[in-house]
C-alpha cells in the first residue's frame, strides 16, 4: 500500500496564478483532510471531506477550494495564489465510523508551495 500520496512535492507560483494539489489514498478511508503548516505553528485545517461528493470548511478555508469526486482523491485548489499561501500543505485521511472521525489520521508527505 502506498498510503497517502501527494502531488506535486514542490511548486513555485507567481501571485495570481492558480494550481491544484492532488491527494490520493489507497486505504479506503472515508474522511480526508487538507492542512497547512507554517513555521512554528501546528497544523491548521483548511477543508475536509466526510465522503465522496461532500466537502466542508475548516478553520482557514479562505482562498482555497476543494473537490472530492472520487473516494480515493481529494483535490485542493488555489484560484489566485497569494504570498500568504506560501506554506507546506499536508493531506490526511482516516476511517469514518459511527461516532465520527475520531480515528487516527494518516498523513501524506506534504507539498511545499512558494508564492512569489
Amino acid at each position: 500500500n502506498a498510503g497517502v500520496t501527494q502531488t506535486p512535492k514542490f511548486r513555485v507560483l507567481k501571485t495570481g496564478q492558480s494550481m491544484t494539489l492532488l491527494c490520493a489514498q489507497d486505504m479506503n478511508h472515508e474522511y480526508m483532510y487538507w492542512y497547512r503548516q507554517d513555521p512554528g505553528m501546528g497544523l491548521r485545517l483548511i477543508h475536509y471531506s466526510v465522503g465522496e461528493g461532500t466537502t466542508a470548511k475548516g478553520e482557514v478555508p479562505d482562498g482555497y477550494n476543494v473537490s472530492r469526486l472520487k473516494k480515493q482523491n481529494f483535490l485542493l485548489g488555489l484560484e489566485s495564489a497569494a504570498p500568504s499561501q506560501t506554506s507546506v500543505y499536508f493531506c490526511a485521511s482516516s476511517y469514518g465510523v459511527s461516532g465520527g472521525s475520531y480515528n487516527e489520521q494518516f498523513f501524506g508527505p506534504g507539498t511545499r508551495l512558494t508564492v512569489l
Partner: protein, 115 residues
C-alpha cells in the same frame, strides 16, 4: 474553539537525560494523539491515548493522558540523538451537531538531543 498548548516549544537536551513535554488543552476531549515529524518530512503517529489514565510506551517514549486535568505528557527517558524531531500533540473533538471529529494541533516541541 479548542486550544492546545504545548510546553516547551524548544527543548535542547543532552543524551542520557530525561525530560517531559506537556500538552494542555482547553475543553473536554477523550482522545489525544502524539505525532513525530522529522525535518522536511510528514507526520508519523506515535501514540493514541483513548481514555483517562491511558499510558502508552514505545522505547524511550512514554505518553499519558489525564482527561480531568486536560493534560497529556510525553516523557523521554535516557534521550538519544535519534529522538531529535518535532513532536506534536493533537486533541480530538467532535464538532457540535456533526459526526465529524477534528484534530486540534499544538504548535509542536522541537527537540534536539546532543551528545
Amino acid at each position: 474553539e479548542l486550544k492546545v498548548e504545548q510546553n516547551p516549544l524548544f527543548l535542547s537536551m543532552q543524551e542520557g537525560k530525561n525530560y517531559t513535554i506537556y500538552c494542555n488543552y482547553s475543553t473536554t476531549s477523550d482522545r489525544l494523539y502524539w505525532y513525530r515529524q522529522d525535518p522536511g518530512k510528514s507526520l508519523e503517529s506515535l501514540f493514541v491515548l483513548l481514555s483517562n489514565g491511558a499510558v502508552k510506551q514505545e522505547g524511550r517514549l512514554m505518553a499519558s493522558l489525564d482527561t480531568k486535568a486536560r493534560l497529556s505528557t510525553l516523557h523521554i527517558t535516557a534521550a538519544v540523538h535519534d529522538l531529535s524531531a518535532t513532536y506534536f500533540c493533537a486533541v480530538a473533538r467532535r464538532n457540535r451537531g456533526s459526526t465529524l471529529g477534528r484534530l486540534y494541533f499544538g504548535r509542536g516541541t522541537q527537540l534536539t538531543v546532543w551528545p
